[in-house]
C-alpha cells in the first residue's frame, strides 16, 4: 500500500472532526472516501497533506511517517492535492499555475534566478515544456495564456489537477473533483482519472456522486460523524446497512 492511516484523530476544541480513523490506500488504483456532508472527509485530507496536524494517530506514506511535516514537505515527498472549493492562483495564467506546480521539483536557487544563469534558463525551458504537456494532458492547452480566473468552471477543475500533477506526485488526492459537473463532464473526468492511473499515480478521491465512485473505485471507505463506518469494495459498501442508514437516515 502507498498510504496508511493509523488511528488518525483531529479535534477542534470540543469537536471531534475525525475520530480514530484507520485504513490503507493500496498502490496503483482508485481509492474513494465517501460520506455525508460534514463527515470529516476534507479534514482527513488536510491531516494527510499537513495543512492540519492530527491530534492523535499517524499518517504513513510509502512506509515513512509523515505526521508533523509541513504542507510543502509533504508535497515534496510526492503527495499532491486539489481543493473542494477550487483554489487556483486566480491572477496567474494557466501556464504559470502549472509551472508553479513544478516549483518543488526545480533546483534554481536565488542566485540562478537573479542572474538568469544557463542552468536557470534550461530549467525554465524544460518547465515550460512540461507545463504545456500537462495542460494538453488535461485538455486545456488552448487556455495556457489566460488567467485562471477567466477559465470556465470545468477548465478550472482540470487546471487544478494539472497543477497538482506538475508536482510529480505518486499519490494524488482529489477533493470532490466532479462537484458541479454534468453527466457528460463526469464521464470525461473519469476518463482523465484513468489516464492519471496510467501514469502510475495512485488516486485517492473524495466524492459525493455515488455513480462516479462505484464505477471508478476499487475500494471505498465511508466516514460518518468523523468515524469510519465501513470499508470495502463498492459492492460491499453499497449493501452495508450502516452506510445506507448514514445516507438515507434511519427508517423508523
Amino acid at each position: 500500500m502507498i498510504l496508511r492511516l493509523e488511528g488518525v484523530t483531529k479535534r477542534f476544541g470540543g469537536l471531534i472532526a475525525v475520530d480514530n480513523v484507520s485504513f490503507d490506500v493500496p498502490m496503483g488504483q482508485v481509492f474513494a472516501l465517501i460520506g455525508p456532508n460534514g463527515a470529516g472527509k476534507t479534514t482527513l485530507f488536510n491531516c494527510i497533506t499537513g495543512l492540519f496536524q492530527p491530534t492523535l494517530g499517524n499518517v504513513v506514506f510509502e512506509g515513512k511517517s509523515i505526521s508533523g511535516l509541513k504542507q510543502h514537505q509533504v508535497a515534496r515527498l510526492g503527495i499532491a492535492r486539489t481543493f473542494q472549493n477550487i483554489r487556483l492562483f486566480d491572477y496567474m495564467t494557466a501556464l504559470d499555475n502549472v509551472r508553479l506546480g513544478q516549483h518543488v521539483r526545480m533546483s534554481a536557487k536565488l542566485w540562478d534566478s537573479l542572474f538568469k544563469t544557463p542552468k536557470a534558463r534550461r530549467e525554465e525551458v524544460a518547465v515550460t515544456e512540461a507545463a504545456t504537456e500537462l495542460l494538453n494532458f488535461v485538455g486545456i492547452a488552448r487556455q495556457a495564456d489566460n488567467y485562471a480566473r477567466n477559465l470556465a468552471y470545468g477548465q478550472q477543475r482540470r487546471l487544478e489537477i494539472a497543477r497538482a500533477l506538475a508536482t510529480r506526485p505518486r499519490l494524488l488526492l482529489l477533493d470532490e473533483p466532479a462537484a458541479g459537473f454534468n453527466p457528460q463532464e463526469k464521464v470525461d473526468l473519469m476518463r482523465l482519472v484513468e489516464k492519471i492511473l496510467g501514469l502510475g499515480i495512485t488516486v485517492f478521491l473524495i466524492e459525493h456522486d455515488m455513480r462516479v465512485v462505484m464505477e471508478s473505485s476499487k475500494r471505498i471507505a465511508v466516514l460518518d460523524h468523523g468515524e469510519k463506518i465501513a470499508e470495502g469494495t463498492p459492492e460491499e459498501v453499497r449493501r452495508d446497512p450502516l452506510v445506507i442508514e448514514a445516507y438515507l437516515g434511519r427508517s423508523a
Binding site: 504542507q71 510543502h72 499532491a80 483554489r87 487556483l88 491572477y91 516549483h103 536557470a120 468552471y153
Partner: protein, 414 residues
C-alpha cells in the same frame, strides 16, 4: 461573451508588454540626456542633476518595496528602517565617526564595499525581523513593520553622546563627512564643460554628475536583476503566495522562506539605497528616516502600479517631483498665476482680514494639495498609472461582473 473577454485579456497582456518596453526605452533616453538638457535649461545644472540623483534613491527604494508589496503581497510600513540601517552602515564604516566611539578607532572602508555591506546588514535585519513576524498575515504584519520602522531611527538617535553604550551615531546631530567614493579613472566631457577625456584617480567629492551617473548605473542593474527575479522560479512563488498561501504550500512552496526572501531582498535594496544616500549627502541623521519616508515609498509603488517595475519607476519619479519640486515651488507658481490672470490683488496681504497673501497662504497648505493630487490619481486610475496585467485585470473584474455564478451556469448549460 467569454471568448471576447478572454481575447481582450490576452490583448491587454501583449499591450502591457509592448508598453513596458516603450517606457523602459523612454526612461533610458531621458536618463542619458538629462544632464545635457539640464545644462541647456539653466546656467548651473548642478542642482537639477543632484536632485535627479536623489530622485534615483527613491526609484531604488520603490523597486525594492515593489518586491515586498507588489510581488509577494506583504504590506511593509517600516521600509525606511532598512534605509536607515543602510545609511548608518555607510556612516559608521566610512567616516571618522567611530573614532569618537568606545572603539576609538576610525573605520574607512571604501564606498564600493560599504555599498554591499549596507545591503548585507539591511537584508540581515530584514530576515531577523521577518523570521518571527512573517507568520502573521496582512494587517498584523503591517503593524509589526510599522513598529520596527519607528524603533530603528530611535535607536540610532539614542546611540549618541551619553548613551550607556557610548557614542556610536552622534545622536540627533547625525554622522557627517562621509568618505567620498573614488575610482581609478572617470570620464569627462562637454557635460562638465570640458573636452572629452579620461581622468585618473577620480574622487567623487560631491560631484553631482558623477553621483548621477552612478545612480543611473545602479538603477539599470537593479531593474535587470529584479526583472530576472520576477520571471523566475522565485518570482512565481511570490505571486503564488500573494494569490493563495494555502494552495502555494500544498504545491510545495515553502511559504515562510519565500516570504522571508522577498522581505530580505526588499530590505537589501533599501540598504543599498541608504548607503548611496548617506554618502551623497555626506550626512546621516535620524530624522531622514521617519515614517513619512516609508509611506512615501509605498505611495510611489501603489500609485505607479503595484507589481510592474516600469510603473513603479514612473510613479516614484512623479511623486518625487510633486513632493520635492512642485509643492515647494507652488507658492511662487500660485502668485505668478494670480498675477497673469489679473487677480494680482490676491498677492497683497491684508492682515486686517487675516489674509496673509496668496503665496503665504499656499505655503501653509502643501499637503492639502498633495492629498488632492493623490486622491485624484487614485480615483482616475485605481490600478496605478502603469499597472501590471494582473492588477489591471483584478480591478477591472472587481468593478464589473462576479464570474463564478455565470461560470457554473455556462458549464451546466453545454
Amino acid at each position: 461573451m467569454r471568448e471576447r473577454s478572454r481575447a481582450l485579456s490576452a490583448w491587454i497582456g501583449r499591450r502591457a508588454h509592448e508598453r513596458n518596453s516603450v517606457i523602459y526605452a523612454a526612461l533610458i533616453v531621458a536618463a542619458l540626456f538629462f544632464p545635457t538638457i539640464a545644462a541647456n535649461l539653466t546656467g548651473d545644472p548642478s542642482p537639477m542633476i543632484s536632485e535627479a540623483a536623489s530622485a534615483g534613491v527613491f526609484v531604488l527604494l520603490a523597486i525594492g518595496l515593489n518586491v515586498v508589496v507588489g510581488f509577494a503581497g506583504l504590506l511593509d510600513l517600516g521600509y525606511a528602517a532598512f534605509f536607515a540601517i543602510g545609511a548608518y552602515t555607510a556612516g559608521m564604516l566610512a567616516s571618522g565617526q567611530l573614532g569618537a566611539s568606545p572603539l576609538q578607532h576610525e573605520i574607512h572602508i571604501p564606498f564600493w564595499i560599504v555599498l554591499f555591506l549596507a545591503m548585507f546588514f539591511a537584508a540581515s535585519f530584514g530576515a531577523l525581523l521577518g523570521a518571527p513576524t512573517l507568520r502573521l498575515r496582512g494587517d498584523y504584519l503591517a503593524i509589526v513593520t510599522l513598529g520596527f520602522g519607528e524603533i530603528v531611527p530611535r535607536v540610532f538617535r539614542n546611540m549618541g553622546f551619553g548613551s550607556p553604550l557610548g557614542n556610536w551615531t552622534s545622536g540627533i546631530n547625525g554622522i557627517n563627512a562621509l568618505d567620498q567614493p573614488t575610482l581609478p579613472f572617470w570620464f569627462v566631457g562637454p557635460w562638465v564643460n570640458q573636452a572629452f577625456g579620461v581622468v585618473k584617480d577620480f574622487e567623487f567629492n560631491y560631484d553631482p554628475v558623477a553621483y548621477y551617473a552612478l545612480m543611473v548605473i545602479l538603477v539599470f542593474i537593479c531593474v535587470i536583476l529584479v526583472n530576472n527575479l520576477q520571471r523566475s522560479r522565485m518570482g512565481r512563488a511570490w505571486m503564488a503566495v500573494r494569490e493563495d498561501e494555502v494552495a502555494a504550500a500544498a504545491m510545495g512552496v515553502n511559504t515562510v522562506t519565500t516570504k522571508l526572501l522577498a522581505f530580505g531582498i526588499g530590505a537589501a535594496f533599501s540598504g543599498f539605497a541608504g548607503a548611496y544616500y548617506g554618502t551623497k549627502l555626506s550626512l546621516v541623521g535620524p530624522d531622514a528616516f521617519s515614517f513619512v519616508v516609508s509611506v512615501t515609498v509605498l505611495v510611489m509603488v501603489v500609485l505607479g502600479g503595484m507589481g510592474n517595475i516600469p510603473g513603479v519607476m514612473v510613479g516614484s519619479l512623479l511623486i518625487y517631483y510633486i513632493l520635492y519640486i512642485f509643492l515647494p515651488n507652488l507658492p511662487d507658481y500660485a502668485s505668478n498665476l494670480a498675477q497673469t490672470v489679473g487677480l494680482g490683488f490676491l498677492n497683497q496681504p491684508n492682515y486686517q482680514h487675516g489674509w496673509p497673501g496668496l503665496s503665504a497662504e499656499v505655503q501653509l497648505l502643501p499637503f492639502l494639495f498633495f492629498g488632492v493630487i493623490l486622491v485624484s490619481i487614485m480615483l482616475l486610475r485605481p490600478q496605478g498609472l502603469i499597472p501590471s496585467r494582473s492588477r489591471a485585470e483584478e480591478l477591472r473584474r472587481r468593478s464589473t461582473d462576479e464570474q463564478p455564478i455565470t461560470a457554473v451556469a455556462e458549464t451546466t448549460a453545454h
